[in-house]
Subunit: 246 residues, 2 copies
């Protein structure tokens, strides 16, 4: 009989990658590597199917997924094109209803806790006069909105995004834009936690540090600021004062 072979699986599971997935990856690669820059018209579905030696169905499956993700755009009767990056969050507009659970929001804030200090650090070097003026404007908005929590929180988020813009780095900008939208959508719950008192204080100081081009100070303040926000939100949640989202 011989002994059983259960320990140490020497045999690796065979590679079984779906055809459509392979097509998806190949097409994605062409786009990512820049072989097909924005605006390029792809070969027709029949052509692709022939070249890749798969059925048209598999090609279409891949094309559909890529368009859903915003990399492609297909025009009926005309062809399929590589999309410009311009259109920002067209798709996100479909999702604002999604209320995120608490854990999800903490994930987002935890991310921000790392990103925003870094962003403000870069911003101290690169912010223009216009950026600073814009930040000042938003800060004064916040001062006025001390009664309207919602508007206050909105301005708060805008402040952070403006700092991201000042980095001149598209990744920071894009990610921060998404985070703003998420928090905006789930704002009912976090408004209280944000706290007028701290908010104004930190934003004023951060703005000052930016003017002084004191990166270390700005980073420290930002980290403190986000930390306190998280802390507040946790306290509120534990006390059950805050939202439940369902």
């Amino acid at each position: 009989m011989g002994r059983r072979v259960t320990e140490k699986p020497v045999l690796k599971p065979v590679r079984k990658e779906r055809v459509s997935r392979q097509v998806f990856d190949q097409l994605k690669e062409q786009i990512v590597k820049g072989k097909w820059p924005a605006g390029t018209k792809l070969p027709s579905e029949n052509e692709l199917a022939k070249q890749l030696n798969v059925s048209r169905v598999s090609v279409r499956s891949a094309l559909h997924m890529l368009s859903a993700l915003g990399l492609l755009e297909t025009r009926h009767g005309e062809g399929t094109y590589v999309r410009e990056l311009s259109g920002d969050l067209y798709f996100n507009a479909l999702f604002p209803l999604l209320a995120l659970s608490r854990t999800n929001i903490f994930d987002v804030l935890e991310y921000r806790r790392v990103m925003d200090p870094g962003a403000v650090g870069l911003a101290t070097e690169r912010a223009t006069e216009e950026d600073l003026a814009e930040l000042e404007r938003i800060y004064h908005q916040m001062e006025e909105y001390t009664v309207d929590y919602k508007a206050f929180a909105r301005a708060d988020l805008e402040f952070h995004l403006t700092i991201a813009k000042a980095t001149r780095n598209p990744i920071f900008i894009k990610v921060n834009t998404i985070i703003r939208d998420i928090l905006n959508a789930s704002m009912e719950g976090i408004v209280r936690a944000l706290g007028i008192r701290d908010g104004l204080h930190y934003h004023r100081q951060i703005l000052q540090a930016l003017r002084d081009k004191d990166a270390v100070k700005a980073e420290g303040l930002m980290r403190e600021h986000v930390d306190r926000t998280i802390q507040r939100l946790k306290e509120g949640g534990e006390k059950g004062e805050v939202y439940d989202q369902r």
Copy 2:
């Protein structure tokens, strides 16, 4: 003859919504509105086709797009299920970033310079034995690949992604995955800059710091590591040795 009617188009173009799009919208609504909570198994494709009075092709088209967006998950031979709606869903909007990846690798690395130290900091607290084993495995891969630059660089990227996974924060994971794809695509150029010598050194030390649960050290090493990568790449670029991607 009468005058032409070109100004003010009172006549709106007739509604010509694609079938697959309608299916997409209907399914999406069921999910977003919570009628189909996470984990729900959808009716089979045949069933849906019958209920909606469309062909199975159209149903599948919609299903594919929804899975690409992360709302659904289809398991071959088993069925299609509603996925957990999490925050990282929004970050699918980052996908178009892939299209402009090449424009500036430095933007990407600058971003990584901020995020990866933060990620490794969180990872020191949360990494499981399995995570560490996986990192070890990748590290040994790198040791073997000292001749194959491409494979080496790929393992390098995988190392960073694995650290992101160890944070257990879906945002870190998602964004890092996209960054890996971007750098992967531009790899011909950065391979030289990565440098075998430093790479192994830093990764070994970072792994050690993770084992020792020394967050400060791990963060510092990571920052240094990314800094040097950027520096190398800049030197190479100035000398014109590095990539041009065409």
